[in-house]
Subunit: 150 residues, 2 copies
Amino acid sequence: MPCTTDELKETLQAWVALFMRRSMEHMLLFIKENNLSMSQMGALMNIHRQGMCNVSDIGDELGITSAAASQMLERLVQQALVERTEDPNDRRVKQIALTDKAARIIHENFRRQHAWLGELAASFTPAEQEQVQATLRLLLEKMRQVDGRR
Amino acid sequence: MPCTTDELKETLQAWVALFMRRSMEHMLLFIKENNLSMSQMGALMNIHRQGMCNVSDIGDELGITSAAASQMLERLVQQALVERTEDPNDRRVKQIALTDKAARIIHENFRRQHAWLGELAASFTPAEQEQVQATLRLLLEKMRQVDGRR
DNA sequence: CTTTATATTTAAGCCAGGTTAAATATCAGG
DNA sequence: CCTGATATTTAACCTGGCTTAAATATAAAG
């Protein structure tokens, strides 16, 4: 049967809703297990994405003042999740990096999500896997295009 | 070319990551616009999903004590987002419902996500739309199965 | 060397959102 | 009509996370 753009939109919506709820659940459980707050997890993910960066970078990225970023980082340092080292080129700035502990936590978060997705991936027949693979690649490409247009 | 379960898992992972980031961004912007906190948005979404419910239901669902739920609801009532009415069958319990204002906010949130998805859906050729539609339906079905097994 | 700009921290204060414990009101069973 | 269970609220308190303003330290320019 032919399908309309609107129908596809609705299917996408259903898919997104289910995925978001599932992922959110997973995330909330995970941060509770690791005694983190949502903000802290956000900060850690941010540092992970940015790689080496300084205090104000993080503030900018999180949309808070650098004073707030400084305080948040201080709490993370106290929990041994973040390392602050002086930048040898400019001693005003502190270089921020995840500790091994934090890296392990982030990694474990990804791993578990991966495990869930693995279960999903394995539930398809080989023929279906081909189909899903091809379609998702298409979707990804288009999403990046739509994303890029902003 | 044939693809392995692992490859599919990775494609799924990439898709989820992109989607999550995109949706999170959207959500954070939206709640800022509406002067809500993440928790408050969560609570409103929850009430929206549950429909009519009482104070402790919400506490249970959010994983907080009913005292905390009571206080959170009080703040939402003050912002005219929630209505508290006495249950005529049991005058100990309060029935909680979204006000029109809150319903409009939730609806607007969905509408915008829809708009973004519409843009995505429209970017496919009719043939691609068929393919994506079919595959997503398959994915949804399998996800619900995997979800159901817990 | 002095001035000005920049990066970070510290201090003081605010509010959201959580807890436990006690207060209040109602229901339901003997 | 008591008594005990249940639903909600209130009180007292704590913490995280934010703000602004001031303090500190360093860099960079004249």
